[in-house]
Amino acid sequence: MKLLKQFMLILLVSLVGELLKALLPLPVPASVYGLALMLGCLCLGWIKVEQVDKAADFLIEIMPIMFIPAAVGLTEAWDSLKPMLLPLAVVILLTTVLVMAVTGITAQQMMKKGEKHHE
């Protein structure tokens, strides 16, 4: 029963996220509103972390499988991808590495500097 209550709270926050998305004219998905909302509720103590943690940990653990149907759907988009396949492949590969490396290196360097500053 405990787990059911946890799922109920999570679905409730998701629902309010959907509501915000319907009301606000921004290109922000319901899940991001929901994430911010859940974080706010936890910080304000409206929801205690013990009231959602078991269901949350479970959902996060199985998250990769939730992308399978969308990724399988790529076979449907094949015809529209074909004409720009080479540039697409190069752009995706190079920029993914670029974003990952630049983000990681910048953050790491800044934290190193910050730690030295504290010493």
Partner: protein, 230 residues
């Protein structure tokens, strides 16, 4: 017999989970980054569908219930984030700078490569939001006049690629700090990258979740600045 597959709702779920189990087994057995459970699951499902002559619509009748969980799961990313809140406060400057630097670098990279390949404005803005979470990316692409279907495909491919290559990139560029790793994964490969970050550790996962939300919002701004440049 093929009608049977069309009639049952459980087919999509079963082959998806089976494919993922196969992926987990292979990863445990061979310990290679290419043997990514998600990637293997996707390949298995596509192969099984082809073999049995099941079309995507039929598969997705069951498969959609897995996708249904995606919004609640993303909402749940607030939990690890909340547990790591002090880390966030302590490192907020490094977090903001890292994410912004990555987003600008990505946009400059896409602009340069689009010029190199002689892409049209439409194709260029289609690619601009490729690193953000699907729902935000689709919105940006639509707003800028891109091809939304291709943007969606690009975002998913980017996510899976980021998930697969993350550990190699971290080794190559000596990115060792868990905060930096998490931010890099979330910024480059959104929620699919975050799934990988969760495997690496709770700090990585929390930072990656944060990156999804912040990167999504920053990209809305950066894309509108970069869009008129080609």
């Amino acid at each position: 017999m093929s009608d049977f597959w069309t009639d049952t709702l459980f087919f999509g779920g079963v082959i998806s989970l089976l494919g993922y189990e196969v992926g987990l087994l292979l990863k445990k057995r061979f310990r290679l980054a290419v043997l990514n459970p998600l990637l293997i699951a996707v390949c298995c499902v596509i192969a099984v569908n082809k073999l049995l002559g099941v079309d995507y619509e039929t598969y997705n009748q069951g498969g959609q219930y897995l996708s249904y969980l995606l919004t609640p799961a993303t909402v749940c990313l607030a939990v690890p984030l909340y547990r790591q809140l002090s880390l966030l406060k302590q490192n907020w400057k490094a977090i903001v700078c890292g994410l912004s630097a990555g987003i600008v670098a990505g946009a400059v990279g896409i602009l340069a490569l689009s010029k190199l390949f002689g892409l049209s404005h439409e194709q260029y803005v289609t690619l601009l939001p490729k690193s953000v979470t699907t729902a935000i990316g689709m919105g940006i692409s639509q707003e800028l006049g891109g091809l939304v279907a291709i943007t969606t495909a690009t975002i998913i491919i980017t996510g899976i690629l980021g998930n697969v290559i993350a550990e190699a990139v971290f080794a190559l560029f000596r990115i060792r700090h868990p905060v930096a790793r998490g931010l890099a994964l979330g910024n480059a490969a959104h929620a699919i990258g975050t799934a990988k970050a969760m495997e690496l550790g709770e700090v990585e996962g929390a930072m990656s979740s944060l990156a999804i939300a912040v990167a999504g919002i920053l990209t809305v701004v950066s894309a509108s600045v970069f869009a008129p440049l080609l």
